[in-house]
């Protein structure tokens, strides 16, 4: 606990309120943190099934995945990675402010985090729009671009060196599968970002009206864990989806 000039248990200053079923503040803080950590473990499993599927299909049709990845703009993705990593910095600063009791700092950095998160989502939406315009959204309107179809035809040869139509069909399918996984994984990630931005904004308002006891040290730290996790997911998705082409 930070040094406090006030001994009053009032909101916004002093110590955190101790809930009646805990023995002390350390236990309460540890429980909240541990709860978020295990929730994140659960989240890891949420993405791991998809990343497992990605690994299997990429191993089956590496060329199809590389060609599909070539349609993603790696510099836009790079920009977004920078934005997200910066938002992690501002989030870490907000957590720090809550520990030293700088309420204005908390609000400022939380808003900065939310803005950066929104920028990320905007850029992501712009990317999706481009891909949908190029008929790369899986479904009835999906079209494999001609040059990719050509390249996949070239690698679809059987053991006898002849063109193998079954392999070709599978390669075309896995080209689309890459986009299924791309849209689904980035979509689920974006959903987590939206939840995160909403939570960050709510926390900024609550910090502004001094709703938290003890500057919300525990609550903001737990929110920070979530935010960093969503960041880390992107750090995995970016190379898997953008950088293999």
């Amino acid at each position: 606990m930070q040094a406090s000039t006030s001994t009053l248990p009032d909101a916004g200053t002093g110590r955190q309120i101790l809930l009646s079923h805990f023995d002390d503040l350390d236990q309460q803080h540890l429980s909240s943190n541990l709860g978020m950590w295990f929730f994140l473990v659960s989240e890891v499993m949420f993405f791991s099934g998809l990343i497992g599927a990605y690994a299997v299909y990429r191993a089956l049709s590496p060329v199809a995945f590389e060609r599909a990845s070539g349609h993603m703009d790696l510099w836009v993705g790079f920009f977004n990675t920078l934005v997200l990593l910066t938002s992690s910095l501002t989030m870490a600063l907000a957590v720090r402010c809550s520990q030293i009791g700088d309420n204005r700092g908390i609000v400022r950095y939380l808003i900065a985090t939310a803005v950066l998160g929104t920028v990320f989502l905007g850029v992501k939406g712009f990317e999706w729009k481009q891909e949908i315009d190029h008929h790369l959204l899986p479904g009835p309107h999906f079209v494999v671009p001609a040059e990719d179809a050509e390249a996949l035809r070239a690698v679809s040869v059987g053991t006898d060196g002849q063109f193998d139509p079954v392999k070709y069909a599978r390669n075309l399918g896995h080209f689309q599968m890459m986009f299924v996984l791309y849209f689904f994984m980035t979509g689920v990630h974006a959903f987590h970002m939206i939840v995160g931005v909403a939570a960050v904004l709510i926390f900024a308002v609550l910090a502004q009206i001094r709703w938290f006891s003890g500057y919300g040290t525990t609550q903001i730290e737990v929110l920070g864990l979530y935010w960093h996790f969503v960041d880390v997911v992107w750090v995995f998705l970016y190379p898997l989806l953008y950088l293999i082409g």
Partner: protein, 552 residues
């Protein structure tokens, strides 16, 4: 333990967690004991809904021709709804939701779970899923089987698959929240002196269950989301024409749903590990082995999903590896059964109702487990895959195991939960009826499956009728056995609390507080100085001499 300094009820008895009877106090409660009661009411409701459907199915199967239900598809919907309701709305939440919620904090000397509000939230989330499930049932049902196999579920079925997927998705979150709460509670809320190896085995088993809930459920969630998206937008992830793979769904689904079997049965082990030492008056044999066996089951459980897919075109080598790994899971399960048996050896056994259920559990779970080994062998599985042999096997685990354990646990802790004792005679009778009815229902199904009767058909060849009639007759006995406790347990509520704090003379912190417990469980700080299950013959005599509240 004195309660004189505390508030009293209208009738002069000390206030307990049940004192406040307003509806709002129940719907907004964050007391783990009350949330446990809410779960008890709901799982009982879903159990009987699922049970009625099972009854209809058995009625249909009494004759070789389809005559009770109008169409084969109606039968398909029936077995699907039976599976969905029983698994997601009864078996998964039953023991953790009811007994786990009620007892876990009491057993470790805590005032509540770490996150009481999230605990209540988990019940609401569960109820939303459950109400959607019943809504689907009323409006026509789903016909995919509880496994939602693609491509049938994504391309052909014209029933409420998306709604069912959403219901299962939502209910999954309830189980994640419960799991999170249990894990954190066990880590941070233990009373001073309650070391990991002084925890009752009930807590160890629930900890292992919670691990599976947290690690497995998200994968199920993602699979059913993909089903929903595939149906709505034809993304092609499970459609071979578009490069997808229907088998991918089976991998994702069983990655959760095999561990989910252990979500259902590990809490059963939890209950049995408490009942057996109490009614044998002996410390449990091999405490650490049982504790680590729970964790081992939770870990191995994640590595065996492929044994559901021996005939799904998975490679023979993968099949062989999954087969060997499945044999390995039997080891920790067998450790438990042998240790319980060793606990009985030279104990002073008392055959009260909970003990009857526990003994039934041991026998039936062993049969279920051993037939599981048969199914894990590649050659036998190819022969009996998708026959009644499989149906009989998992009902021996799910009904003979989990449901027996749940009923045993409810009978064991009923005096603690309500403060009332129930009629021992009726209790024993119902335990006996459940055991006899269960075996009559499901043992013939092993024979049917071995003879080649496939599961999930509403007509069958006439030579199978005798065994099917036996099964249906057994189901009616089983139904009586399940309905009886509803009556005598509810009737026990009419009398004044008569149980006393510890009617069975059991060890454990939960038996040292009054029945029913007060809102904050303990009146003074708890300090634990010894391990669990300190039963001895002298102690047994002393306990029974001083209490003699309970007479059989």
């Amino acid at each position: 333990m004195s309660a004189s300094a505390h508030a009293r009820r209208d009738d002069g008895r000390p206030a307990d967690y049940l004192s406040d009877t307003s509806v709002a106090s129940w719907l907004l409660t964050t007391d783990h004991k009350r949330v446990g009661i809410l779960y008890m009411l709901s799982v009982t409701l879903f159990f009987f809904v699922g049970g009625v459907i099972a009854g209809l199915m058995r009625l249909e199967l009494m004759t070789p021709r389809g005559d009770v239900m109008s169409t084969p598809d109606a039968y398909n919907r029936m077995f699907t709804m039976h599976g969905v309701i029983m698994i997601f709305f009864f078996l998964v939440p039953a023991i953790p939701g009811v007994l786990g919620n009620f007892l876990l904090p009491l057993m470790i000397g805590a005032r509540d779970l770490a996150f009481p509000k999230i605990n209540l939230l988990s019940w609401y989330v569960y109820m939303i899923g459950g109400v959607m499930g019943v809504w689907i049932l009323v409006y026509g049902g789903v016909d995919t089987g509880w496994t939602f196999y693609t491509p049938f579920s994504t391309m052909y079925s014209n029933t409420y698959v998306v709604t069912a997927a959403v219901a299962v998705f939502i209910t999954g979150f309830s189980s994640i929240l419960t799991g999170l709460n249990f894990i954190v509670t066990v880590h941070t809320m233990r009373a001073p002196g309650m070391t990991w190896f002084r925890l009752p085995l009930f807590v160890w088993s629930h900890y292992a269950t919670a691990l599976i809930m947290v690690l497995g459920t998200p994968v199920l969630a993602i699979s059913v989301v993909l089903i929903g998206l595939e149906r709505l937008f034809q993304f092609g992830i499970f459609d071979p024409k578009l490069g997808g793979d229907p088998i991918l769904f089976q991998h994702l689904f069983w990655f959760y749903s095999h561990p989910a079997v252990y979500i259902m049965v590990l809490p059963g082990f939890a209950v049995i590990s408490e009942i057996i030492p109490c009614f044998s008056r002996r410390p449990i044999f091999g405490y650490r082995f049982i504790a680590f066996a729970s964790v081992a089951i939770a870990i191995f459980g994640f590595l065996v999903w492929g044994h559901h897919m021996f005939v799904s075109g998975q490679s023979m080598y993968a099949g062989a590896v999954f087969s060997i790994l499945s044999f390995l899971v039997a080891i920790p399960s067998a450790i438990k059964v042998f240790n319980w048996t060793a606990t009985l050896y030279k104990g002073s056994l008392r055959f009260d109702t909970p003990m009857l259920y526990a003994m039934g559990f041991m026998g039936l779970f062993t049969i279920g487990g051993l037939t599981g080994l048969m199914l894990a062998s590649l050659a036998i599985d190819v022969h009996v895959h998708d026959t009644y042999f499989v149906v009989a096997h998992f009902h021996y685990i799910m009904v003979g195991g989990t449901t027996m354990a749940y009923l045993g646990g409810v009978h064991f802790w009923w005096p603690k939960i309500t403060g009332r004792t129930y009629s021992e005679l009726w209790g024993k009778l119902s335990a006996l009826l459940v055991f006899v009815g269960f075996n009559l229902t499901f043992f013939p199904q092993f024979l049917l499956g071995y003879l080649g009767m496939p599961r999930r058909y509403f007509e069958y060849r006439p030579e199978f009728q005798v065994l099917n009639v036996m099964s249906t007759a057994g189901a009616s006995i089983l139904a009586v056995g399940f309905v009886l406790p509803l009556f005598y347990l509810l009737l026990s509520l009419r009398k004044a609390p008569d149980a006393g704090p510890n009617p069975w003379g059991a060890t454990g912190l939960e038996w040292q507080v009054e029945s029913p417990p007060t809102t904050h469980n303990f009146h003074e700080p708890v300090l634990v100085t010894c391990g669990p299950y300190m039963y001895s013959p002298e102690e047994a005599e002393r306990e029974y001499a001083s209490q003699h509240v309970h007479t059989a």
